[in-house]
Symmetry: C2
Subunit: 158 residues, 2 copies
Amino acid sequence: MIVPEVQAEIDKFLQGKGLRRTRQREVIVEAAFSTDEHFTADDLWERSRKIDRTVSRATLYRTLSLLVEAGLLTEIDLGKDIKYYDPNFLEHPHHNHLICVDCDKVVEFSDANISLLEDCITRRLGFRPTKKAIRIEGTCEELRRTGFCKSRVDKGPA
Amino acid sequence: MIVPEVQAEIDKFLQGKGLRRTRQREVIVEAAFSTDEHFTADDLWERSRKIDRTVSRATLYRTLSLLVEAGLLTEIDLGKDIKYYDPNFLEHPHHNHLICVDCDKVVEFSDANISLLEDCITRRLGFRPTKKAIRIEGTCEELRRTGFCKSRVDKGPA
DNA sequence: GTTCGTGCAAACCGTTTGCACCGAC
DNA sequence: GTCGGTGCAAACGGTTTGCACGAAC
């Protein structure tokens, strides 16, 4: 994926703040941006440890904060009780999330009209938008019509 | 506010599930719906205890779940790390939230066009929408222009 | 050599749960 | 009297933090 670009970006960020480039930070960035799936802190910890077994949870969390602060990673709310992180905002800065309640699949979408509407509404209320997030939960139409949803297969009976 | 109506509603819900009407549940409902502000579990606990000092955290949380399950209260994500609850969805079932990053003020809004767009997009992706939430964070235009925001007064210096 | 980063384990904090007693029905 | 509800305190799970050692610069 875009790991090298992200490494450059985080280098710039670290340098700007007088912070150091460490093996652990490299590993975590590599683990985070070698996929375009959303992940939890724990997911990322496991993936990092596959590259370097010594990465600790503490460092994972500390680095995660840095990446969010640097704007390379975005916290998203998928309606679960744990935080998810989305590595795709660099490439698609304005996307939103649709979550299937049948199979838990997450579909990203963006729509210029809806963005525009959001901006209008925000300004009308006397604010300037800085961060916008739409989360839609839905049921799979295919499952409802045909009784079968290919994304649902691995989830066991309804 | 609409406390009596809500009491009737929760009574119906409890009865339907063979659950009991208790003093504690009455108190918590009263505390929850005597305001139209968003609140945390702890906020609600304190308000409940002002009515009846014996309400415990455990019962608070258990009742909170019931109210959400009954559809009387909605969990919302205000971008903070704790859960907030919104008692206003009964009266305004389709509203969204705009959060001011300057003063933390939350403005509710709804918009038919945006709702329609959400539905279209969801169907186009092969799903049927069940729950939709828009969260916009923004900065106060008044504060930016005049250096003063009446909602900000109680927050101390920038 | 200085300073920042790290791993470890303990602390934290919002929430949930096991248990014995209590109260609605 | 039965069964669900409650308060208490302990447990839980994700996240943060204090500390002493280690590594970047």
